[in-house]
């Protein structure tokens, strides 16, 4: 395996002085960091540290009261999730959000939604341009199915699948949008060791093969330190560490946050 000490020189997304509060609760205060194009960036922190809130800000689901997010050189203040998706940001959720009654294939196909160009009329008839387009999309989806090694569950309704496979299908749906930035909210939560190893491999392969930039939230420190290029550490809505895994691992503030030293 090649060393993961890699060099990046283009900022894909930067977060500047973000603050977010819900009523009196400060979820994030004055957070700044950046994500380089092509890297795997992890956000870690104890429960309630504001990790998911951070992801929700990036993806336009929450609107921070202060600060700005610059994505691909464009500063934005308010953006809606579908706009984020159109600009190439896809995500998976901490609690799987798939269409349980639909097959794996159809679920991943929904990830192509934004890229479908033909109108409702043709799509309803499933002829002409709509049929051609569907074949193109199906090709992309089949490549993803092959990539994630889920051929055997292609036609199985996802509600019947074990948890680990559902997570993989969800990743597949996010990939179907051909994102530039992929946000993964705890992709390995609740998995056993083998499933975690598989998922790690898929995350690394997505990054390698498609050059997708990945920002992930994860609790398993082993996983984080192994696969990420850089790590941001949040605690109680504040950034307490930022850097390559080796630096973060030895950072005093980080150790304290994780070992639960009294504040």
């Amino acid at each position: 395996m090649a060393s993961r000490q890699r060099l990046f020189n283009e900022i894909l997304l930067s977060v500047e002085n973000i603050s977010l509060s819900f009523g009196g609760v400060k979820a994030l205060s004055d957070i700044s960091f950046d994500i380089m194009k092509g890297e795997i960036r992890a956000i870690i922190g104890p429960n309630g540290a504001g990790k998911s809130s951070m992801l929700n800000c990036i993806n336009g689901f929450y609107h921070p009261q202060q600060g700005a997010i610059t994505y691909k050189g464009v500063k934005r203040s308010r953006m809606r999730p579908h706009e984020a998706a159109e600009q190439g940001i896809a995500r998976t959720f901490q609690n799987i959000a798939l269409f349980r009654g639909m097959s794996t294939l159809d679920n991943i196909m929904t990830g192509r939604n934004l890229r479908m160009k033909t109108g409702l009329f043709w799509q309803a008839l499933r002829v002409g341009p709509a049929a051609r387009e569907e074949i193109e999309h199906r090709k992309t989806v089949e490549r993803i199915i092959d990539f994630l090694e889920i051929q055997h569950i292609r036609k199985v309704p996802v509600g019947q699948l074990p948890y680990g496979l559902q997570k993989r299908v969800e990743l597949g749906r996010a990939l179907a949008a051909e994102p530039e930035l992929l946000l993964l909210d705890e992709p390995m939560a609740g998995m056993n060791l083998e499933e975690k190893q598989d998922m790690c491999r898929f995350v690394l392969d997505v990054n390698d093969e498609f050059g997708t930039t990945i920002c992930l939230i994860e609790h398993d420190m082993g996983v984080v330190m192994d696969i990420s290029d850089r790590v941001v550490v949040l605690d109680y809505g504040k950034k307490i560490g930022d850097g390559v895994p080796d630096t973060v691992k030895t950072d005093r503030a980080v150790i304290e946050a994780y070992l639960g030293v009294s504040h």
Partner: protein, 651 residues
């Protein structure tokens, strides 16, 4: 080979060139990729093989050299074997799931400088091996996924490109090499994993395999265009013969599944006409059908039960061409419309003309299930050393307790010891770099020791009873074949494992392991509560259940004069499941009889001392690796022998 046939193609590369000429646009291989079956015709295959072979020349591949092939069944890997053979080389397919050290032994022993691997998983193993076996110089991969940052590898496509360049300069490069090939040349080397010692590399020549492929094809009337699903390991002689050798000799269509997990779906989509499955696969298929029937509506379940009962009586007769009454015929037709047809379609067996099973003993219920549906299921007996075929069931003469009649040109002999020996044109050349093992197995005049004990019955069929070294004798001289009896026991779903004793004893006694799932289910339906395996195994009702099954086995044994004296007279149900972790089973789940005999000596002694029950305490390893002890009382039951045949002088 005779002078007349020497003008014919006597090697696989020549056969391939022939097929590309006579059937250029007929499908040769199919592979499901991206959800669609991609088809390659013979012309395409020949061109790819030609180019790949030229690429190997460019890499310095020499005549007689060996090349490791490792991966799932993929057309490109089959083509790699043809390319190697085109240059007079010997492909060595190895099991894709073998661990690094097993693989390292084979790579080193074969002296291979080249390897073609399917993907990263295999490349990782080969790179590890390179450290200790530096002679392995060139690694070629097919699927580039995950290999982006690897150094010093070649891709299959790069080799093809190199080949294309070489062919531009000298177009006849590979054709000349193909022409130099002779039928007597080594065609393939297959490592057989013996139960003891290091694996041995059996070398088969083109003549061996071409003969075997033809003999099998003639025996069962295979024809060009017959479809086959290649889903068993490429390193196994069966796959090599069916997919590769018969593929080239007959012109079969070889279909490669999308992945190991999709085989059943792929089977249904392809609907092969020629099918092979080991007993374990056939058994799993039935279990799945039965489970789904349990969930079906009452009407469907009734229909299924009624027509399956009919099929059991009428089906085999119909397939064998024996007389069947008009009413039964009509009902069977109706059954075919309502049950058998749809079921065969689900199993992917609608179009099967010839199906084989082999490898281990197959339960009569399992075997007859398929035959009663109208699937022409047969058993065959074969070995790597025989290029597979020794005996096959001829049409109309299929019996679940035999393995059929010798294929033409195969001679059979039963040695004094009861061991089966054969001689045929398919007999292997040698074990690579192992003259000792070769001469131990193959006699000067070409007879091969199978290591299996068996006999020819009055119908001229071969019956295999056990491994020759395991066959013993009771004190009264009765033949005692432990595996033969154990297999009969294991055919019952409630019995998971059985160990029998009897060599040098007065009678046969048995240890039984219950099947936790099947017996657990049985107990649940009868409101029998239990908390553990041990509790369930010790329950008197379970003991009664097992006793009935053993009595059926005894009745069965009583029918065979050779075996009647070897009925089980006493048995006990072990208080713990036999585990590979405790060394009681091999990693391939075969019982280690000797070890078990020593470990449970207290129990064995009790079986032969007349005790009614016995207390036992043994060490065991838990699933997480912790050690502990398990102890308990085990009850012993006596059985009355079935007197269908006289017991005295049964031998």
């Amino acid at each position: 080979m005779t002078a007349a046939s020497s003008s014919e193609a006597d090697t696989f590369p020549k056969l391939l060139v022939g097929l590309a000429g006579t059937r250029p646009h007929a499908p040769a291989y199919r592979e499901k990729e991206y959800g669609i079956w991609q088809t390659y015709d013979w012309a395409h295959v020949a061109a790819q093989v030609n180019r790949l072979a030229a690429g190997l020349v460019d890499l310095g591949f020499a005549r007689g050299e060996r090349l490791i092939v490792i991966g799932d069944n993929r057309p490109r890997l089959y083509w790699a074997m043809a390319a190697v053979q085109s240059l007079g080389g010997v492909p060595v397919p190895v099991y894709q799931d073998s661990v690094t050290e097993e693989l390292a032994y084979v790579v080193d022993h074969a002296g291979a400088r080249y390897a073609i691997a399917e993907n990263q998983e295999q490349i990782d193993k080969l790179l590890e091996i390179q450290k200790s076996v530096p002679s392995l110089a060139t690694l070629i991969y097919d699927d580039a996924r995950g290999l982006r940052y690897y150094q010093g590898l070649l891709s299959y496509d790069e080799v093809l490109e190199r080949g294309a360049k070489r062919l531009q300069v000298s177009p006849g490069l590979v054709a000349d090499e193909v022409a130099k090939g002779r039928g007597g040349d080594d065609a393939i080397m297959l490592y057989t994993s013996g139960t003891t010692g290091r694996p041995k590399g059996a070398v088969l020549s083109h003549d061996n395999l071409v003969w075997a492929a033809k003999a099998g094809a003639e025996f069962d009337g295979l024809k060009a265009g017959d479809e086959l699903l290649s889903y068993l390991p490429m390193a196994w002689v069966g796959d090599h013969l069916f997919s590769y050798a018969q593929g080239h000799v007959v012109g079969l269509v070889v279909n490669c599944p999308e992945s190991a997990a999709t085989v059943l779906t792929d089977l249904r989509e392809i609907g092969p006409t020629y099918y092979f499955a080991p007993p374990r696969v056939l058994e799993n298929l039935i279990t799945q059908v039965m489970i789904r029937m349990e969930d079906a509506s009452v009407l469907k379940r009734r229909l299924f039960q009624y027509f399956m009962a009919l099929a059991r009586t009428v089906g085999p007769a119909l397939i064998d061409g024996r007389p069947v009454g008009p009413l039964d015929r009509l009902l069977y037709r109706l059954g075919d419309l309502l049950v058998y047809g749809p079921l065969k379609n689900t199993l992917g067996m609608s179009r099967v003309r010839v199906a084989y099973t082999a490898g281990e003993a197959v339960g009569p219920e399992i075997f007859n299930f398929y035959r009663s549906l109208g699937v022409n299921m047969k058993q065959l007996y074969g070995q790597t050393e025989a290029s597979v075929f020794v005996t096959i069931h001829p049409d109309g003469e299929v019996y679940s307790d035999t393995v059929g009649k010798p294929v033409s040109k195969v001679e059979l002999r039963i040695a004094e010891s009861g061991e089966v020996l054969y001689r045929s044109p398919g007999v292997f050349k040698e074990y690579f770099k192992n003259p000792q093992a070769t001469s131990d197995t193959k006699t000067e005049d070409g007879w091969v020791h199978t290591g299996d004990a068996g006999y020819l019955d009055e119908r001229g069929h071969l019956k295999i009873i056990d491994r020759a070294k395991d066959v013993g004798k009771l004190n009264d001289g009765t033949l005692f074949a432990p595996k033969f009896i154990e297999n009969k026991l294991k055919f019952f779903p409630h019995i998971n494992e059985a160990v029998t004793f009897g060599h040098g004893r007065d009678f046969v006694a048995a240890f039984v392991n219950i099947d936790m799932v099947a017996v657990g289910d049985w107990a649940e339906r009868r409101n029998i509560a239990y908390a553990s395996y041990q509790e369930l195994a010790a329950h008197p009702a379970v003991c009664d259940l097992i006793q009935q099954e053993i009595e059926r086995v005894n009745r069965d044994l009583a029918h065979d004069p050779r075996m009647a004296g070897a009925q089980i007279r006493r048995f006990l149900i072990l208080h713990k499941a036999l585990e590979a972790d405790d060394g009681e089973l091999t990693r391939t789940n075969k019982v280690r009889r000797g070890f078990i005999g020593e470990r449970y000596k207290v129990l064995v002694d009790a079986l032969y001392s007349g005790a009614r029950d016995v207390h036992i305490k043994v060490d065991m390893t838990f699933e997480d690796g912790r050690k502990g002890t398990i102890e308990g009382d085990v009850a012993i039951r006596d059985l009355v022998p079935q007197h269908a045949m006289p017991l005295e002088q049964a031998s």
